[in-house]
């Protein structure tokens, strides 16, 4: 293609998208308002709650998930250290966005995964999209999101979700497809409707796999925190960004370690929970 033509093409695309965002940007933004409302509320709640209560809640969650005193003690100590080193507020902001993002990914991802498992054609259409979402450099999709929604919490949340959504979709699809064929024949032969089959057998049996997907989604969302902070998401990413531009080694290191601590705590709790789910149901011996 000629250089001038190429320039024209790029210009045309840019102009087109700009027009699109000028026309529909506000509508799209207001569509995401409930999400923003929920995110802001959660963040305020987390910040307003006295720290001992937050630590207690984390400890209880750790116990419910893993039944391991070590993990409970480890999580409590990690959160105390985070508070001691003055990163409490940023951590709460990060926890809030990760929570909202995970809920959103589960709400969107599991239905998509179910649809994919139902038909090979849907699977073939959606898989390349998932591949793209995971491999395309995140800065590339930050541009259109910024043009549409500007800087703020919602565009950050969407950016995080784009990156974090694929695992839960993939593993839901995989989990449901892996359910034993004879078990499904049993459902059919007793006259279960497709919906009954899904809710009584397919989803319960694939829960451990789906849970592995949720775990991955949380991990990937945490990994996106720094990039999301570039477009206005508060949290542990902000001081890291400052540390990069000003070469503050200690600041970067401390906040980085706080992210690692969060990641390890979330990972262990969800993983142990997933494992216990399998042991109880006795699927792993199959």
């Amino acid at each position: 293609m000629e250089r001038t033509d190429l320039m024209e093409l790029k210009k045309a695309i840019d102009l087109g998208f700009r027009l699109f965002s000028r026309k529909y940007g506000d509508a799209i933004e207001s569509f995401f308002d409930p999400l923003l409302f929920f995110l802001v509320r959660l963040e305020k709640l987390l910040l307003a709650t006295p720290w001992p209560i937050i630590i207690l809640v984390v400890a209880i969650l750790a116990w419910l998930g893993s039944r391991s005193w070590k993990l409970v003690a480890g999580s409590a100590v990690a959160f105390m250290l985070i508070g001691y080193f003055g990163m409490w507020e940023d951590t709460m902001a990060t926890v809030a966005i990760i929570t909202v993002c995970t809920i959103l990914c589960i709400a969107v991802g599991i239905p998509i995964g179910v649809l994919m498992s139902k038909s090979d054609r849907t699977e073939k259409t959606i898989l390349p999209i998932l591949d793209m979402m995971q491999t395309i450099p995140s800065f590339v999709y930050l541009v259109p999101i910024l043009m549409l929604l500007g800087i703020g919490k919602v565009p950050g949340l969407i950016a995080v979700c784009i990156y974090a959504l694929p695992p839960v979709v993939r593993l839901t699809n995989l989990g449901i497809r892996e359910v034993d064929k004879e078990t499904l024949e049993a459902c059919d032969s007793y006259g279960a409707t497709p919906f009954q089959k899904l809710t009584t057998v397919q989803i319960p049996l694939s829960l451990p796999t789906i849970f592995a997907g949720v775990n991955q989604t949380i991990m990937m969302a945490l990994a996106m925190v720094v990039i999301a902070s570039m477009i206005g998401v508060k949290g542990l990413g902000v001081p890291i960004l400052r540390a990069i531009s000003n070469q503050y080694l200690a600041l970067g290191l401390m906040n980085g370690l706080a992210i690692v601590a969060l990641a390890i705590i979330f990972d262990r709790i969800t993983q142990q929970y997933g494992k216990r789910m399998q042991k109880h149901r006795g699927i792993q011996q199959k």
Binding site: Y190, G191, K286
Partner: protein
């Protein structure tokens, strides 16, 4: 009464089954079809009738199409062509909703690898057929407990399937099939995955249950002894074709072709032939034979092996009696010896 009827059922597996059908109808063999078109013939012109209250055993080696056949009866598999009637209803004409109702109320199924739900307890598994019918929890648990007791699993109702042995798991499968109280039971190699002792136990349990319940059972197996023990009628499948249908004795005494002959070659007849099959009527006996003072009473349902030791070594008269104790007929040494030696026993 005819319970299940299949008319000229063909099943061809592959992308273009309808196009291949005329070839199969013209009589091309399974190998030819596979070689020329890549399609697999599952069933080749199968027609059969199953009477109410009988156990129909469908036997064949693996790949002969027996599992495909049983799945046509509740339409887990749709035929390429042919008609299937259950209690007079043309199953092929049922829409989705009616098919679901049909499966819920007309028949239940037992699977080779049990097909239990690993995330549900025994009682939840047994109650599954009632759960999908949206029957309330109390009622379905009550029914499920009755069936769990019927198969002798009380005390295990809150265990998960993989905490149980294979035999116990299949009892759960059996209880689940009984719980919906359907008239027809489909059993797909139900006992094939069990070890021989437990298999024999399960066969006995099924016979006991059947003598009370009088369901119509379609039983799939590759084991001749099992089919002879359980079946009122046996159908033998080879490469998707039904090569012979008959009573166990028919099959043993008059095998239709070499395939069936190979099957029945090593059969132990004393284990299969029942007293009532070889007895002669009292009138016939009295006109021809002298009654020996040394008499033995045997039940009409007992197998030769059960009374052979008592009667073979000394001259005896064998009286065959029914459940009430009335004499139904006699067995003489002539009958005994012909049943054990000749292959063309006249019935």
């Amino acid at each position: 009464m005819e319970k299940i009827k299949l008319n000229n059922v063909f099943k061809i597996f592959g992308n273009n089954a309808a196009k291949i059908l005329p070839m199969v109808e013209r009589g091309a063999t399974k190998e030819e079809i596979l070689e020329q078109t890549g399609h697999t013939v599952g069933l080749d012109n199968v027609s059969l009738t199953i009477q109410e209250g009988e156990t129909f055993v469908c036997m064949g080696l693996s790949g002969s199409g027996k599992s495909t056949l049983i799945r046509h009866i509740n339409r887990l598999i749709d035929p390429t062509s042919g008609e299937i009637f259950v209690e007079g209803t043309n199953v092929m004409e049922l829409d989705k909703k009616k098919l679901i109702q049909f499966r819920r109320h007309k028949m239940s199924m037992v699977f080779q690898r049990f097909g239990l739900f690993p995330h549900k307890t025994v009682i939840e598994n047994v109650a599954y057929g009632l759960e999908v019918q949206k029957i309330n929890l109390n009622e379905r648990n009550k029914t499920a407990m009755e069936k769990i007791e019927a198969v002798g699993l009380n005390g295990f109702e809150h265990q998960y399937p993989n905490q149980l042995s294979g035999g116990m798991q299949q009892r759960v499968g059996l209880a689940r099939a009984l719980a919906t109280n359907t008239n027809i039971m489909l059993m797909d190699e139900a006992f094939s995955a069990l070890d021989p002792l437990i298999r024999s136990d399960m066969q006995k349990q099924l016979l006991d249950l059947q003598s009370e319940l009088k369901k119509t059972i379609v039983f799939i197996t590759h084991d001749l002894d099992e089919s002879l023990r359980l079946g009122d009628h046996i159908g033998i499948l080879n490469d998707g074709k039904l090569v012979q249908v008959g009573t166990p004795l028919d099959i043993i005494m008059n095998p239709a072709d070499d395939y069936v002959k190979a099957f029945v070659k090593d059969v132990n007849r004393v284990k299969i032939i029942k007293a009532k099959v070889i007895m002669i009527s009292p009138e016939q006996f009295e006109s021809n034979e002298e009654k020996n003072p040394n008499t033995v009473k045997v039940s009409e349902e007992s197998f030769l092996e059960e009374f052979l030791p008592q009667v073979c070594c000394s001259p005896t008269t064998v009286e065959v009696v029914d459940k009430k104790g009335d004499i139904r007929g006699y067995i003489t040494h002539n009958q005994l010896s012909s049943a054990l030696t000749k292959s063309d026993l006249t019935l």
